[in-house]
Symmetry: C2
Subunit: 233 residues, 2 copies
């Protein structure tokens, strides 16, 4: 039996984080696809697993323990099954605090802007759904601000090789990368942000990257740029 | 010397959480007021302490270690100075995961809606600033939804005495209470949410409550209901 069962969709940034952390740490898992494009995360069956109707969610198969929220899931998995000194230090409380600091900032910093921008700039045009132009404009304006904050305050303009100032990758990098790389689907040019670009190249060499991102990479090559299809009323 | 230095404003929900957790755990601190009403969190001096321009921030005085993000600060303080088995269990990884699950949900669940609603419904009318009516309407509509989620999914309609399903208070309760109680300034009637009301009464008996909330309690009695002053264009 696999150690855990994951419910999710590899098109979801937080799902990719959990799957990648499992692959990187050799934590065995079964994967149940919950297709967010078909709104399967809102079915009565899935709401029994995560009552908030969001992916990912997991079950720890040793005792039927259920959990959602990707950061929480990864912290738990490393505590229970991982090498704790690796992605989320258990013996250096200062280093752990700097990882937590990023993970907490992520929700209202990077995630909020990227999540809403991606919905308005990619998902709505792709599925011919109405675009919320005030939200599109606000988040579109905020993307450079957030990326500059990320680059100057977390990567310290290249002084830091990784987000939390560590010598090797941590949970903070997995979380940030899964969100930032989503804009590849909109052909976003990251070479404009040199230190982010170099950090992304480091991340893309990690075990599990190609497996977890293959669908995103494929779509980013094959799809049109949906941004260019947007017509204002 | 105090163990830590805190920069913040007791009108800020996350500042109250950090101060309350210190008082509850007898962690000594010096407090530097950063008046958010005067936008002191955006001064060049303060931006050296927290470059994101938000309160609270702390310095651990044993080694000049700086940290922001209230949940991160509290996790760190309990790891370094607190009784770890108390508010954020270090020996029960399942319990710790349930505390983390709430703390992660908080950012995009409760905090997002309450933060924006409070700005539009209280701060802008109070200071005669323009109100963003679409945001006011959206968050106003979402308040009951979020409170019902909180009541049914975290308090399990009264089955849970505390947010993470524990027998005693945890970091999750401190975080949620500091945010939810902010609406007392708008005379919000919590008796409509019986289980939240009863949980709030339990929280208000904890060590440190009256000290940390005295300013909020005073204003909630003395001020008019700013909601009633709002005029739509």
């Amino acid at each position: 039996m696999s150690k855990i069962t994951i419910w999710g969709d590899l098109m979801s940034q937080p799902t990719r984080m959990v799957v990648w952390v499992c692959k990187y740490n050799n934590i065995s898992y079964d994967f149940n696809v919950v297709k967010i494009g078909l709104k399967e995360q809102r079915t009565p069956e899935y709401l029994k697993i995560n009552p908030f109707g969001m992916v990912p969610a997991i079950q720890d198969n040793s005792n039927n323990f259920h959990l959602y929220e990707s950061h929480t899931i990864c912290r738990f998995l490393l505590n229970k099954y991982g090498d704790q000194h690796n992605l989320y230090s258990s013996n250096d409380i200062f280093q752990r605090a700097k990882i937590d600091e990023y993970l907490d900032w992520h929700h209202t910093g990077l995630r909020y802007t990227f999540h809403h921008y991606f919905h308005e700039a990619y998902l709505h045009p792709k599925f011919n759904e109405p675009i919320d132009f005030p939200l599109f404009d606000k988040t579109s304006n905020d993307i450079p601000k957030v990326l500059n904050q990320f680059q100057s305050l977390f990567l310290k303009n290249g002084q830091n090789q990784f987000v939390a100032g560590t010598n090797s990758v941590t949970l903070a990098d997995f979380s940030a990368f899964c969100e930032i790389s989503q804009l590849k689907l909109l052909k976003f040019d990251y070479t404009k942000y040199q230190h982010i670009h170099e950090w992304m190249q480091r991340m893309e060499k990690l075990t599990g990257y190609e497996d977890v991102f293959k669908f995103v990479i494929k779509l980013s090559k094959e799809e049109p740029n949906y941004l260019e299809t947007i017509k204002r009323p």
